[in-house]
Symmetry: C4
């Protein structure tokens, strides 16, 4: 199975998710600039979700870059990830419109957690295909970022019911953690290339 179509489909879904969120930001009826002030929490939650979806797109890009074969399991693990991400606009809007109220802020974290677990599942399904000696296996390594993310969300979710703003800060931290694209894979790819190059020179 070609991986071109799974990339194209995921790109399209992520692009749509990232873009329709802005549809939820209703322009104010009032023409004064002060009418923007109540939109601040909506805008903030939009920025946060844009970051997260950008991160998912970037990591997904790196992950599939080193994938050579697409099995049925990978296909469904990918759709499963897209399912949880497709709920991001819903929770973004709710969290923003409720001005980071307890319930919506908690639910936002739950969706982040489920999406992160779905990503790990996809990574696992790909590793099963690629094998333990693959470029990807070396690149992922101990995957401390993945673990710290899960921990962050797991801590933020109950905190959201007490102090929603702390949960918000933790979500932002979880995004910043990933902002730097996954260098591990880039490094492994160039290392693999160098080895091939060295082997070729001998």
């Amino acid at each position: 199975m070609g991986k071109g179509r799974i990339e194209a489909f995921s790109d399209a879904v992520l692009a749509i998710i990232i873009t329709i969120m802005v549809l939820e930001m209703k322009s104010p009826r009032d023409a004064a600039l002060s009418a923007l002030r109540p939109l601040a929490p909506v805008f903030l939650s939009y920025v946060l979700s844009f970051l997260y979806l950008g991160i998912y797109w970037s990591n997904h890009h790196h992950l599939l870059y080193v994938t050579r074969r697409i099995s049925g399991a990978i296909m469904w693990a990918n759709l499963h990830l897209l399912f949880w991400l497709s709920l991001v606009p819903f929770v973004t809007r709710w969290m923003g419109e409720s001005r980071f109220a307890r319930g919506p802020t908690m639910l936002y974290g739950v969706i982040l957690l489920l999406a992160a677990m779905a990503y790990l599942l996809l990574q696992h399904a790909i590793l099963l295909e690629e094998g333990a000696g693959s470029t990807l296996a070396a690149a992922v390594g101990s995957d401390w970022k993945g673990r710290v993310s899960l921990l962050t969300y797991a801590v933020a979710i109950p905190l959201a019911l007490l102090r929603p703003w702390i949960a918000g800060v933790l979500y932002a931290f979880g995004a910043l953690l990933w902002l730097v694209p996954d260098r591990r894979i880039e490094r492994q790819v160039s290392r693999a290339r160098q080895e091939v190059g060295t082997a070729g020179e001998r």
Copy 2:
């Protein structure tokens, strides 16, 4: 005619259909988590439709993978399939918002039935181009899944007017039936490759 563009167009349409459905799930005005409860049927119908569209995307992917030539008939059969699938968000929303009422639940089945028939038509149009001795013809074989699906919908549609929940269960069954991607095609492709390989060795 290149099949790249027909794949790209179908991917885009399916990605949009699968994603805009979530726009229909209006976030509650109330900020309490209990405000999510009335959304349960809307969410359930979203999950069901997400599954169905994922299945259509996956099967479409497999089907076009073994297609070598795109005729005008294939192009229009494909658009015809996309037409019925484009109505899925409409019936999903209606079924969910009416909390699986009789009429909307029946209509949902009608759209599933029409989409399934459109898929068979597309498969038929491709088989006409590829010929009886093609990889696809061997892969499709008796197509029992296609037949069972049609039967399931045909049974569920009248039942929806009596017991909508039975129809709902049948729709879910129709989805689970297809969840495993079409192994027949994968098997035939690898068999065809082996034969080519064996022939090459001789």
Copy 3:
């Protein structure tokens, strides 16, 4: 300049236009099937526009298939076509919701006319690049379909203000005219290939 991206962008825009139209069909509040009856004109105008956009996608596909170079003029002629097509959801909704009232039905024809003229302009821009002896020039030939379409819309537009249903029938006729994909180009391509083949044999 690669034509891959202009195709991908046009595919995405057309896929979105064709799909968001269904968002306009609001599901009825009532759960009875009879609640669908008032939607009939909305559905009818949706089917008509789906057909037209499918035709434009198909013809656009054929047109770019024989295009070898993308100039700046082609790029902008393409965006110009997409602009008029992007207004189709607006007029579709208005015509449907007004139940084919005079004004909206007339405006629908105006948009069809402007889109058809934009398509001819794009074809012209491509012909300028490809030259009079190109495959495309031979394929387009006298372009009677393009002329009959323009005439149909030009007749339908004023008629819409007297008898909107006649305009509606003419729009449907204009779509059926194009339903058969542009065989001229297919024929020319295969003829060109045969000539190359014959030349190669000599």
Copy 4:
């Protein structure tokens, strides 16, 4: 890292942004053609934004065409540009619906300015990768258009608070400036090719 996916993702996002704007133009409830008159400013702001997004797509296309390597910085600079462009539908709607009121017209300019700066940042990130002797470096040259654009927006933003229509004219001027696609890159590409050709002949 392949640049195919960054192009595909950007194409999809730009296609969606350009298309969902038309969703904001609500079709009038009244069926009379005169009901279109109040929509004039909404339509005008739509045309302006369509032009700008078309220009961004076209320039983005040219820019990535001469890019050979995608670094992490380029990926994020690209997402940053898409972020500001994703806000265009929001400000377009607000400016249109407020009939070019002072505040919204000013905000429109601010978004144009931020998007223009994000584009320069992306160009800069690519130049860093490509190096000073690259085709792109020669093509961009003094980049007077980029500078004039920034100046235009910087002048228009404060003016919007005094005479919004002057700001509107300046925005239109800023678009017309870019309407001609970036010939500098086309010229450099063909010059680079000629040099390669001449070098080959020697």
